[in-house]
């Protein structure tokens, strides 16, 4: 594990539940925004992802993406330590 990876791991272990990413995209409609955004989140290595909010208006969409790190009932790293996952 290089330094960067260990730091990323550390961050993930400290997250209580999820990471939200927010941005504004130029796109043709809400579906376009959702698809682009979800694909992007997946490309970052997140599997449990969702679009929390999206509002499209003509040419742009305000969007909030979510990647769950822990769901209720999971073994949380903040209880069980780094090997919880």
């Amino acid at each position: 594990m290089n330094l960067l990876e260990s730091e990323v791991g550390l961050m993930i272990e400290k997250i209580v539940d999820a990471i939200d990413i927010e941005t504004t995209l130029l796109c043709k409609d809400e579906e376009d925004a959702k698809n682009t955004a979800v694909q992007y989140l997946k490309s970052l290595g997140f599997n449990d992802v969702d679009v929390v909010f999206v509002e499209h208006n003509g040419f742009a969409a305000r969007i909030r993406l979510r990647a769950y790190v822990f769901r209720p009932g999971d073994r949380y790293a903040w209880i069980f330590g780094g090997d919880a996952r």
């Binding site: 579906e31 959702k34 979800v38 449990d48 992802v49 969702d50 769950y68």
Partner: protein, 296 residues
């Protein structure tokens, strides 16, 4: 002209895949095609997953809405306009001038389907193929034959699928009855059936019985009744589709389970040919072509 419908027990049970296979099987014949729902779109309206496209050959007929015709890649020549309206334009009869994909939005009620069917009788159509929609069955009361599409998208519980298929098959095998029976028109609810216990009744079609949510109770009630139907389609075979959309956080993904055991049990226990279209297209063709040639 013979009409042949593909009915499913849910969305994504493989109706359109079966329809496409049938189009290939019957390519030597003069075919007209329609859907009682919406066919040929790129993506499913609910799951957003890719859908099979409907490919149609030159010389065939298509019954679809004006708006749908515009979005088809097949070159369509307008022959007749029906007085049937849908959310996406009026229904028309087209002749295919050049092969391509076609989007099908056809008549969605029994009455309208019957109108279209009667009109087509006068044309040079040998086989009229009717694709189903979602889990809709009632319009098929006017079809001569049906293929039943069952699949994992309805349920991944094999026992449930088998039971459901058994009851549908059973209803489709109810005898055609005469006027000597007590006529029960329209929708036949379970309550109505239980109030008629012990009687000899005549219902319009098997479809009029199959609209209940409780198939098991329906089967039980039928043990205490003598039921016949006024009209019904003949069941040619059952197809199984092992693929189903699985709910994910961000939408749906295609998943798959093994249905070969289910197919074997349907064949053995219900005495009806059962096949997976993706793997047994030739067998489907044999069953259908044989039947149609015999009847035609």
């Amino acid at each position: 002209m013979l009409s042949l419908g593909v009915l499913g027990t849910a969305k994504n049970t493989g109706k359109t895949t079966t329809l496409n296979a049938l189009l290939k099987c019957l390519s030597g014949k003069s075919i007209a095609i329609t859907s009682i729902g919406f066919d040929g779109e790129d993506l499913d309206h609910i799951t957003g997953l890719p859908k099979p496209k409907v490919l149609i050959e030159e010389g065939s007929f298509a019954v679809t809405s004006e708006e749908a015709a515009k979005h088809s890649t097949a070159r369509l020549h307008l022959l007749r306009r029906f007085d049937i309206r849908t959310a996406l334009g009026s229904i028309c009869l087209y002749r295919v001038r050049q092969a391509g994909t076609v989007i099908l939005i056809g008549p969605h009620s029994s009455e309208d389907l019957l109108t279209v069917k009667q009109t087509l009788e006068k044309d040079m159509v040998e086989v009229f193929l009717i694709d189903g929609a979602i889990n809709r069955i009632v319009p098929f009361q006017h079809s001569d034959f049906v293929v039943l599409a069952v699949g994992a998208s309805r349920s991944t519980n094999l026992d449930f699928l088998l039971t459901e298929t058994r009851i549908i098959v059973k209803m489709l095998r109810l005898p055609i009855g005469g006027k000597d029976r007590k006529l029960v028109e329209g929708l036949v609810s379970l309550e109505k059936l239980s109030s008629l216990r012990g009687e000899r009744i005549l219902v319009e079609s098997p479809m009029h019985l199959l609209l209940t949510e409780d198939f098991v109770r329906l089967e039980q009630l039928l043990n205490d009744l003598d039921v016949a139907v006024m009209r019904k389609p003949e069941l040619l075979c059952v197809t199984v589709n092992p693929c189903y959309p699985e709910r994910r956080m961000e939408g749906y993904a295609l998943a798959r389970i093994d249905l070969s055991e289910l197919a074997r049990r349907i064949e053995r226990e219900l005495d009806v040919p059962c096949l997976n279209v993706m793997e047994e297209e030739e067998r489907l063709c044999r069953i259908v072509v044989e039947k149609i040639d015999k009847q035609g």
